[in-house]
């Protein structure tokens, strides 16, 4: 380990000697004159054991305190005195703390922010403090700027002298009365021995509850309670972001809470109150939420959000650190204690018109930046795209598994049990959590490129609070970090003339002199950029109050629109680039926020009463992971079946919904103007079956529709009867069960066609997986119909894990052939010739995916059938490409008669298991013998973990692409074309073809999302559906009236009632939806 680190350090220093970083230079403290150092001294009374946030670091605020045009810097220190540095120009700074009187008197200082609290045009400084914990004394201090380089501490007079556990504060004018109010972020210290119910947040706690302080002209009033701000003992507030998330003119808040407490999403109601509404807008959040930031990343004019966590990127650290909860603990937390879904990684939330957030951190490449504190979005290279800087590191990494399980026992226990004190020796043994800061280059398509080590030199310092400012007034944005036990790091941006910029400083006549909350739109080179002026960003810090736009090669900004906090706006035209412009609020016009409301083209209108189709699917509690702990995803949650057709012979559409294990299917019969739930005894009798697919058709040629059901569930095994598919024949009076071949399979799809032309409907029955032997290739079948009785006409032993199939004449011989997709297999074409289905290679052989759905659709309008194929998407921990496929090793690794799977993905050319040692050893104990500690296991490739024999005898299954797309028909051969980013955020499970917009042409509606994965993946919940008109035209589902957000849609069907067409969308484990089609 030591050797590794010294090698690493050696490597770093070599790099830093040789190459100067491309974008940022780090002038030394000697050069800048900034010698502040947040030196931490662990004592018997104050250390990581006594205070969980001992290593969170100090604060940092940048702003021009003397209005000389140069931004000055204020640092707060936890135990050391705060310091104020005056910017003398040329990146030279002078310590004026003493003269200014801002050293501070509290024992433990945290966040520091600047704002013009009294509206006199000079920036004041507010410094938070932790008070009352372990005898820490003091209060939050407010240094009022006297305008002459001196300050007077006046927190008490203003009513802001809180003596609580503050971590930071943010300025905002929440009631739009023209002055700055303050949100004070406090943090809990309550041990997390037991989660406690989420309801704890409703009970206000003096020390730990957040506060909203209203500025009443010279004094502040605590309005937390009346404003609806939570103040519980479980609010571990570390992150705060202010933005008008729903663009109604009123600032909203996102509060990031550490540990199990949910983050809070406060929507400003505009009447002095807020509504916390996280669960209705976010599918999941970061778990150990730390800092956050907001910016419009995709130029749609809506503020997007990042919330940081602590997932390591480096395998050596990742596999030696405590990871996510297991699935049962997660269920306990969500179902029993009322918390939302939270996962240990950074989350990037893309704002969808102020309604729902699409979370894309894994897809965007910013999910894992280790122990992260501050995130700042800004256009550092001035290419008109927002980049991202993340500070991180912790002096001691307390979640090191070896430390927790092996080291701590011997070193800590007796000491802490007997004296409550910390043994410094024990602390010394805790490994360091130093990681370099990260910088990412942004792009409009939400892909972030890691430029750490290139744009910036990789450091070995623990950095926390970070702020940006144009310190040298050269137009580009510089950065400063407040570090632990080291002087601040300056990142001086040398973009200079390489790209253009526009800097705006806003002035109002109100008390909110700096126009905090103003929105600015810049249009240049045909690109819209949108910014909101909030200075408190990142973590425990405030940045220079300015609006900065990178302009690339644009010399002129066509127009700049400013919406002032008082809902007036003014437009500036043809503004030259490369200037710092002071804009006074003048010649304004009232601004109508309704004009920002998205213009919806509502193709789908939800029918509130569903016309009696009142169905809620309930997934049974069975978890595949209880039985096969290492499989990549569940197989037991693939329902429900949905079949639309006429069951009672009146010519109208009826509907069958399958039930999960032991839950009866439900049949709805169409009556005059609605559907009525109707019982079919023969079907109800088989409620043990889990129906995942079903077909209504006349199977015995008596001109009455029968019903066939495909059963699965992943729970039944061997020759369990519920695994035999169901057939219910209709004699006109009733349905009765008929025999199906004794095929004991988890069926995934039934596809009917008279393949042999004998006048009856034959069936392809696809099989997804074998219960208890995930990874083994199951057998699928072609069933030949003999007057309502089926026999196996053909067995397909090596097709793969089939999920969907469709009959389609791809060889254009007038007979339908079969197109099949599935998991760990490529889209497969079976040609229908001479009464047999024969596999033909049509160019898709190396396209193994986790395919979920397929539909024929001439997407390019060239007259032949292309095939849309739904895949897993690229927004999960699975990674696959043709060059570096994902590989699943399938074997009985411990020779106990039960097979296991190990999923591996490539990182820089080497294959690592996705799961950690504990998970692997829970199934194969011998791994614990091979690796007696986590350090040895971390960084091991699969070739090192498995023995030669285990490697050789394993069956290896591959996935080469996870992208959803289409197979373009190119003269009978097929080429895969990926669809856009929207389709890659989650699995695409269902397609439906119909002329939804009445233009005489068919479109395909796609839907998906999937939750049957282990918590370390998170929840694949960000696909809101999409309408595919042609290869270039796709309309997101949430813009055309669909309510698919956070639901896992398994079936899309069209049905008619009284001549009116409807779309029936059925999710797993939720209520089905009916939409009227206009």
């Amino acid at each position: 380990m030591n050797k590794f680190f010294s090698l690493l350090i050696l490597g770093l220093s070599i790099v830093s000697c040789k190459d100067e970083p491309e974008l940022f230079l780090n002038p030394s403290p000697e050069k800048t004159g900034v010698t502040f150092k947040n030196t931490l001294e662990a004592t018997d009374d104050m250390n990581i054991l006594d205070y969980l946030y001992f290593y969170n670091g100090g604060g940092l605020a940048i702003g021009d305190i003397n209005n000389d045009g140069l931004p000055d810097i204020y640092f707060s220190g936890n135990q050391v005195k705060n310091q104020l540095y005056l910017n003398k120009g040329n990146l030279k700074f002078e310590d004026i703390t003493e003269k200014a009187g801002v050293a501070g008197n509290s024992d433990w200082k945290t966040g520091a922010v600047m704002g013009d609290v009294n509206g006199d045009g000079f920036l004041d400084i507010y410094v938070c403090a932790v008070v009352g914990l372990n005898g820490l004394d003091g209060y939050n201090e407010l240094f009022i700027n006297n305008g002459d380089g001196t300050f007077t501490e006046r927190a008490a007079a203003y009513g802001l002298d809180l003596d609580t556990y503050s971590s930071s504060a943010a300025f905002l004018d929440y009631d739009l009365d023209g002055d700055l109010d303050i949100y004070i972020l406090n943090h809990a210290v309550h041990t997390q021995s037991s989660f406690g119910k989420a309801d704890l947040r409703y009970e206000r706690n003096q020390q730990t509850g957040d506060r909203l302080m209203r500025n009443d002209g010279g004094t502040f009033t605590d309005v937390s309670e009346e404003a609806g701000i939570y103040g519980g003992i479980n609010g571990y507030g570390l992150g705060i972001a202010v933005a008008d998330f729903n663009l109604d003119g009123y600032p909203d808040l996102y509060i990031g809470n550490d540990f199990h407490e949910d983050d809070y999403y406060y929507i400003n109601n505009g009447d002095g109150t807020f509504t916390e509404d996280l669960k209705n807008h976010f599918g999941h959040t970061s778990r150990f939420s730390m800092g956050s930031d907001v910016a419009d990343l995709n130029h749609d004019g809506w503020p997007d959000l990042i919330s940081l966590d602590m997932l390591p990127q480096d395998e050596k650290v990742l596999k030696a650190s405590e990871g996510d909860d297991n699935i049962q603990t997660q269920r306990l937390r969500t179902d029993r204690y009322g918390y939302h879904y939270q996962f240990t990684r950074n989350m990037l939330f893309i704002n969808r018109d102020g309604k729902d957030y699409q979370e894309t951190a894994l897809l965007s490449g910013v999910a894992a930046t280790d122990w992260s504190w501050s995130a700042l979005f800004a256009d550092f290279n001035q290419d008109m795209q927002q980049d991202l800087f993340i500070s991180n590191g912790i002096p001691k990494r307390p979640n090191d598994l070896d430390y927790i399980k092996f080291v701590s026992n011997e070193q800590i226990q007796s000491k802490i049990n007997n004296t409550g004190l910390i043994d410094t020796k024990a602390l010394d043994l805790m490994p360091s959590g130093v990681t370099h800061n990260y910088v990412y280059e942004g792009s409009a398509d939400l892909q972030f490129k890691d430029q750490s080590g290139k744009w910036i030199a990789n450091d070995t310092i623990v950095s926390g609070a970070t702020a940006y400012a144009d310190l040298d007034n050269d137009g580009d944005l510089d950065l400063v970090t407040n570090n632990i036990n080291a002087s601040p790091t300056f990142y001086i941006n040398k973009t200079d003339e390489k790209a253009n910029y526009l800097k705006l400083k806003l002035k109002t006549q109100s008390s909110n002199t700096y126009a905090i909350g103003a929105k600015v739109y810049a249009y240049a080179n045909g690109i819209k950029q949108f910014k909101e002026l909030y200075t408190v960003r990142g973590f425990q810090a405030s940045s220079e109050p300015l609006i900065h736009f990178g302009l690339g090669d644009a010399k002129v900004v066509d127009s700049v629109r400013i919406i002032w906090p008082d809902k007036t706006s003014q437009v500036l035209k043809d503004i030259s680039a490369n200037q710092s412009l002071v804009v006074n609020q003048e010649n304004t016009q009232a601004f109508d926020y309704n004009s920002l409301k998205p213009k919806q083209q509502k193709l789908f209108s939800k029918v509130t009463n569903s016309l009696g189709l009142d169905f809620t699917h309930i997934e049974d509690a069975y978890s595949d992971f209880d039985r096969e702990k290492l499989i990549p995803y569940q197989i037991g949650d693939r329902g429900p079946a949905v079949a639309v057709g006429d069951l009672d012979g009146d010519g109208n559409d009826d509907v069958l919904f399958g039930g999960s294990k032991y839950i009866p299917s439900q049949v709805f019969i169409q009556q005059d103007s609605a559907f009525a739930k109707t019982e079919f005894p023969a079907i109800k009798k088989d409620s043990i079956n889990e129906e995942v697919t079903a077909i209504i058709a006349d199977f015995n040629q008596d001109r009455k529709n029968d019903l066939m059901t495909g059963t699965a569930g992943g729970d039944f095994f061997n020759r369990a009867k519920p695994l035999i598919d169901g057939l219910y024949l209709n004699d006109g009076a009733a349905f009765s069960s008929a025999a199906m071949p004794e095929l004991f399979d988890n069926t995934s799809v039934l596809a009917t066609y008279d393949y042999d032309g004998d006048g009856d409907l034959d069936v392809f029955a696809g099989t997804q997986a074998i219960t208890g032997s995930f990874g083994k290739t199951p057998v699928s079948y072609l069933l030949e119909n003999e007057i309502g009785s089926f026999r196996v006409a053909q067995e397909f032993k090596d097709l793969g894990m089939v999920t969907a199939a469709v009959w389609s004449d791809f060889n254009r011989d007038g007979k339908l052939d079969l197109v099949i997709v599935g998991e760990w297999m490529a889209p497969t074409f079976l040609e229908n010739k001479n009464g047999r289905l024969t596999k033909v290679d049509l160019g898709t052989e190396n396209l193994n995916g986790l395919w979920q759905s397929v539909i024929p659709f001439d997407i390019d309008g060239d007259g032949d059938e292309d095939y849309l194929v739904g895949n897993w998407g690229e927004n999960s921990k699975f990674k696959a490409s043709a060059d570096a496929p994902m590989v699943m090793f399938y074997n009985d690794f411990d020779n106990n008669g039960q097979t296991e799977t190990i999923i591996t993905t490539a990182k820089e050319g080497k294959y690592y298991p996705l799961m950690g040692l504990d998970a692997l050893a829970s199934q194969v104990v011998s791994f614990r013998k091979k690796y007696q500690n986590y350090r040895d296991f971390a960084g091991q490739t699969i070739e090192q973990i498995l023995s030669k024999e285990q490697l050789e005898t394993s069956t290896k299954l591959e996935v080469q692409t996870l992208e959803t797309g289409y197979l373009r028909n190119d003269g009978g051969k097929f080429e895969f074309v990926a669809l856009g980013r929207d389709f890659q955020v989650a699995p695409v499970l269902s397609f439906c073809k119909f002329d939804f917009d009445n233009d005489g042409k068919e479109e395909v509606l796609a839907a998906g999302n999937y939750f049957g994965v282990q918590p370390f993946h998170g929840r694949l919940d960000s696909f809101n559906g999409a309408l595919i008109k042609d290869e270039n035209t796709v309309i997101p589902g949430d813009q055309i009236g669909l309510d698919f957000a956070r639901k896992s849609i398994r079936d899309l069907s069209i049905l008619s009632l009284n001549g009116q067409k409807y779309l029936l969308a059925t999710p797993n484990n939720a209520t089905s939806q009916l939409y009227k089609l206009d």
Partner: protein, 449 residues
């Protein structure tokens, strides 16, 4: 390279020492105690759960015992008495086997194969080998060969005990809709451990459910119901103890018998483990105290370890069989949910269903075996827990100790009274059965006893 070199040097030393006269190797009861203590140490380090730990103790002691009985007519082999255990192989006719050495070799070899951190065993083994080699290489080689042979015999038998198979069996499925069903408990919310331990092959008892206790009181949160009364007793006892303070007798008893191998402590991001011996490990410690006090020779020492660990092993199977039959929820969960959400037990609730109490069952079983061997009035000072910062407690008899161990679970706030009383009964019956049915002494020996 360095190692190789020093080995060479060492062997050179030994070659020269060969000229010395070879003396018979001596293994004292304390040598064996040390080897068992080493196993305990590794069990703690590797964090084996109580049932799995009982398997390590039982199989390693059995191997040593099977070696010794080959050379001691007063004792009977376990072959034919332990389920599916066949005849122990004999040494080669002309081999100069020192059975005491071979027994220790077999014990260490079994322990090594059963734990994870092999280095910790091999370190001790190699240092013993080095000593022995210096004293009598001929005897060492012969004894080593035989010890390993017997260990192989036990390992081959061990392979059929379903342990490997149970590793891949389904996890305990939590169903929070059933209010009486066990749920993971704070702070680590670990999965229920060893939900298939009842499928492990028993040693002496016929089947896992041979000593099935009566069912626990019917689950009910109605005031006045037996279950509710017992739930409130746990709550009230804890509250009374808080008033009495940390120095109270009850508090001492609770802490003394905690025997939780992995107590997880969370302080913010900081987590650490306090690791201790298991309930089985505690009784293995009592065996050491008792055999020392009785001045037992090596044979007797190994006999007492073996018989006690066999009872512990079957005790855990019997107990786990009931635990995952009744799947009863822990008092902490119910009290937090319905009575007081800030309530915490004195001891950390261990991660498996409540009924019956594991410590009660295995303490009952071990105490019966020890009582059968050393009688009911065997006074001893129990210093097993001093290494974990706990005081010495003195007992007049093994049975008294087991009664206190059982009751400690109520004081610890982790069991209802029924689990303690019925668990103790279950364990005592099982212990008596093992005592009577496992005949380890020949009749002549017993008569002279």
């Amino acid at each position: 390279m360095l190692k190789k070199l020093s080995l060479l040097v060492l062997s050179a030393v030994m070659i020269t020492s060969c000229s010395k006269e070879e003396k018979p190797l001596v293994v004292t009861p304390d040598d064996y105690n040390n080897a068992v203590d080493k196993v305990t140490e590794v069990i703690i380090h590797d964090i084996f759960s109580p049932p799995v730990a009982s398997r390590i103790y039982a199989y390693s002691n059995m191997a040593a015992y099977e070696v010794l009985v080959q050379n001691n007519p007063d004792y009977k082999s376990l072959a034919g008495q332990i389920n599916e255990l066949g005849e122990t192989p004999k040494p080669d006719a002309d081999a100069a086997v020192n059975y005491d050495v071979a027994a220790l070799v077999a014990q260490m070899e079994m322990a090594k194969s059963l734990i994870f951190s092999e280095d910790r065993i091999t370190e001790m083994r190699d240092s013993l080998y080095m000593q022995w080699k210096e004293q009598n290489p001929t005897e060492l080689e012969a004894s080593k060969a035989y010890g390993l042979k017997v260990a192989d015999h036990i390992k081959a038998w061990m392979d059929g005990d379903m342990y490997k198979q149970t590793r891949t069996m389904p996890k305990f499925s939590v169903n929070p809709d059933n209010p009486s069903r066990w749920q993971p408990t704070p702070p680590a919310y670990m999965d229920g451990i060893e939900p298939h331990w009842m499928k492990i092959r028993t040693l002496v008892i016929d089947s896992a459910d041979q000593f099935k206790p009566i069912p626990p009181p019917a689950f009910s949160l109605e005031e006045g119901s037996e279950f509710h009364k017992q739930l409130m007793e746990v709550y009230d006892v804890r509250n009374a103890m808080t008033e009495e303070g940390d120095e109270s007798e009850k508090m001492e008893i609770a802490k003394f018998w905690d025997c939780n191998p992995y107590v997880s402590t969370h302080k913010g991001h900081l987590m650490f483990a306090t690791k201790k011996i298991t309930p089985g490990g505690h009784w293995i410690g009592i065996v050491k105290i008792a055999t020392k006090k009785a001045n037992a020779d090596l044979m007797e020492t190994v006999y007492v370890y073996t018989k006690t660990s066999v009872a512990l092993f079957d005790g855990f199977i019997s107990c786990w069989d009931e635990k995952y039959r009744s799947n009863l929820i822990r008092p902490e969960t119910l009290i937090n949910q319905y009575i007081d959400d800030a309530w915490a037990p004195v001891l950390q609730t261990p991660p498996f269903p409540e009924y019956s109490s594991g410590h009660s069952v295995v303490s009952g079983a071990a105490a019966e075996v020890l009582t059968q061997i050393y009688g009911d009035n065997f006074q001893f000072d129990d210093d097993t827990e001093t290494a974990y910062g706990l005081p010495v407690r003195s007992f007049d008899s093994f049975r008294n100790a087991s009664s206190e161990a059982a009751l400690s679970r109520l004081y610890g706030g982790i069991h209802y009274r029924a689990a303690i009383e019925e668990g103790l009964k279950q364990g005592r019956q099982l212990g008596q059965f093992v005592s009577q049915n496992l005949q380890m002494k020949t009749n002549t020996a017993q008569a002279s006893n």
